[in-house]
Symmetry: C2
Subunit: 417 residues, 2 copies
């Protein structure tokens, strides 16, 4: 499928009759919208001339102070001067890649890894090399071997991109024991660690682990976001970077957008000041845990031929399909049956992943999740039956049967979050 | 001066005791803040779940419809599908350059040109070649000669970057007669025109001229912005591009930021729906005209040794200094005398411009503008006296005398807007 085919498919998938287990959209109905709205009117009355004006390229100083409080929960060491506020943490990914990566450079990423990051690396013509992960996250021994091999091959490795907590899409968390080990290996090979952490505060059990950045603030760029703990519509994320790097990121951001939105920054800042945001994160955690449970129960009951991990936080379950099924080829048929997922191939730079799908439990209600899994089970059964009749790779020709879709979707691309 | 020196200088220049004629910040106190604030509370109550969520990479469909109404005043032909909403038009500049320009490619720009665009072109390692302008804007004959020369030299020219209306910094407007001529030349040499038009609706006399895009929607990418007609703090701009280009811009924008802020877009959309925005643009026009007059009067009275153009709209007067003075060397001394401007060198890629300064009249009151010009006249007199005593290039060593400034400014960089 081409990008525009995927786009057309997701335009169909965003119709209300489809249960989308594809998107990573947070469940915003759990937010106190009256509080959010009321504080905005006050914001304009009290600080409108700042909120509506150009701001600094690095970001609002008050918000940068507050970001320190958020990151303190994960023991990130920084001063407000080390922080640059960005248009979502996606922009931080883009800026870091722009500053560090030349065409042909290697970027190491987990296998699988976040589709939006792979898109950025690709857009700067980086060569993404995957390193396997397991239930404890990125495998140190595999990382060492890969770095050794790349060194022998004379390749230039610029970044190690890691999603340490409640991984997208794999759902795993890098264990506390492995964090210093990964860092030590990266340091030995002179590779900067890019720690992307949108889900760090969304763990269902216990306190969050200390960030990798907390172990070595010089060798790590940490990326954070308010998209999953508050609201993505403001597009407010940030990077914490060593001094020299941070200056270059600010200049790159000024070239790209002049400055992040003052209004968005002050809206987030006022929410953090005037609302018990830690309580709200707890509300989200409970909600997502309930939905994860609903998804795991439905998978147990309805999809026994597949296998999956048990995520301890975040939004995603990473499902291995029964042998011989192709997640990408099956997607149009799933959408016809009114259920959507993201095929595993989206999360690899090298064509792997046909045997996996990513299922999100963040947005639909528990009842809709179960209904979605029920539909998905029907699709799998039909695929398996066709396969047993005609042999592997002989599924029916994809057919939408839901009307022709042209042009880009006006809905979010669920594969991108 | 290095970038960080300029930054430190503008940190001082942003102090209240300095009259800044440097920044291009719109005078937002003229906005109906009560209307703006009240509509936001309603927005969250009525459409909060959309405004706070991820949106499409191309931008909100409703806002794209409304942008057509805005552009109709300049006869831009487009459908909503041709529009991509960006994080300020600066991001559109960045995306267009990212998509089209390879290192070493030539980008043609007026001499002088917008500093923020030059920064983008430089960041993609484009080779900026300037083409002179005069009171009627970009000179067609000079453009033709430059393109012919570049063709003979075997250079690859990708873009012709033009600010057609109330030019930043030169203050001139490309005449109606020259628009088709410029377009025809660009077409003949296969060069895409990048029409950057933040000030098109801010002309003081008569209706705006039809956009260059209105003459040939295939050969032109048009960039628009709400930063000067409404408020820059939302960071909402847009590009209108031919179909194939637009698709590539959307993909590039998704890689860079996933999607523009839904909240910002719906805030602008609700302002356009619920407020008489055309009347408000008229309010801004009158205000800026009054300030332009104040600046021209003060220049006439106090700076007779300099010369300048008479802008018919926009924010800027482009001033030629008396012979022998150096705008860049003089800036620290001007800031010490509590007046700031942007030296002309900022608006060239090739070191020209030492004999010019850009003065903005958009933000200070008429009284402050006159006081700023009075201080500037004092600085010029002192420079000229030193010069007549010691000869050219022998001014005193720059000295701030206003305390040491370290680190990046938390204020907007006034040279960037």
């Amino acid at each position: 499928m081409t990008a525009s085919e995927i786009r057309a498919l997701f335009a169909v998938a965003s119709r209300p009759e489809v249960v989308s287990l594809a998107g990573g959209m947070p469940y915003l109905a759990a937010l106190p919208l009256d509080v959010v709205g009321g504080s905005l009117e006050r914001l304009v009355a009290e600080r409108g001339l700042v909120a509506l004006q150009y701001g600094s390229g690095q970001g609002d100083p008050g918000l940068r102070e507050q970001i320190l409080d958020v990151m303190a929960l994960q023991k990130v060491h920084a001063s407000p001067d080390d922080i640059i506020v960005t248009t979502g943490s996606q922009q931080a990914l883009d800026l870091v890649t722009r500053v560090f990566v030349d065409p042909g450079d290697v970027v190491l990423a987990e296998a699988p890894s976040y589709v939006g990051a792979l898109g950025v690396f690709r857009s700067y013509q980086a060569d993404v090399v995957h390193v396997p992960l397991d239930a404890e996250g990125l495998q140190p021994e595999a990382l060492r071997e890969q770095l050794e091999k790349l060194r022998r091959d004379g390749r230039r490795v610029k970044l190690l991109y890691v999603i340490p907590n409640h991984h997208n899409p794999a759902g795993v968390t890098l264990s506390a024991a492995r964090r210093p080990e990964i860092l030590e290996i990266a340091r030995r090979y002179g590779v900067l660690v890019l720690e992307d952490d949108p889900y760090g505060l969304l763990g269902f059990d216990g306190d969050p682990l200390p960030a990798i950045q907390s172990l070595d603030s010089d060798g790590v760029i940490y990326l954070g976001s308010f998209s999953k703990t508050f609201a993505p519509g403001y597009r407010v994320g940030w990077a914490v970077a060593p001094h020299a790097v941070r200056e270059r990121l600010v200049l790159a951001s000024e070239a790209a957008i002049l400055c992040p939105s003052s209004f968005s920054q002050l809206a987030v800042s006022s929410y953090l000041s005037n609302h018990d945001w830690k309580h709200q994160v707890g509300v989200f955690r409970e909600l997502y845990q309930e939905r994860r449970d609903a998804m795991l129960d439905a998978l147990d009951d309805l999809l026994p031929s597949a296998s999956w991990n048990v995520p301890q936080g975040g939004f995603y379950v990473w499902v291995r399909l029964p042998a011989g099924l192709d997640a990408k080829a099956m997607l149009p048929r799933a959408v016809t049956q009114r259920v959507a997922y993201v095929p595993g191939t989206a999360f690899y730079a090298d064509g792997q992943g046909r045997d996996h799908i990513r299922l999100s439990y963040c947005f639909p209600t528990p009842e809709r999740i179960r209904e979605g899994i029920r539909r998905l089970a029907g699709v799998l059964d039909a695929e398996l039956e066709i396969q047993s009749t005609f042999g592997p790779g002989m599924g029916p020709t994809p057919a939408f049967g839901m009307g022709r879709v042209t042009g880009p979707s006006d809905s979010p691309s669920p594969d991108l979050t």
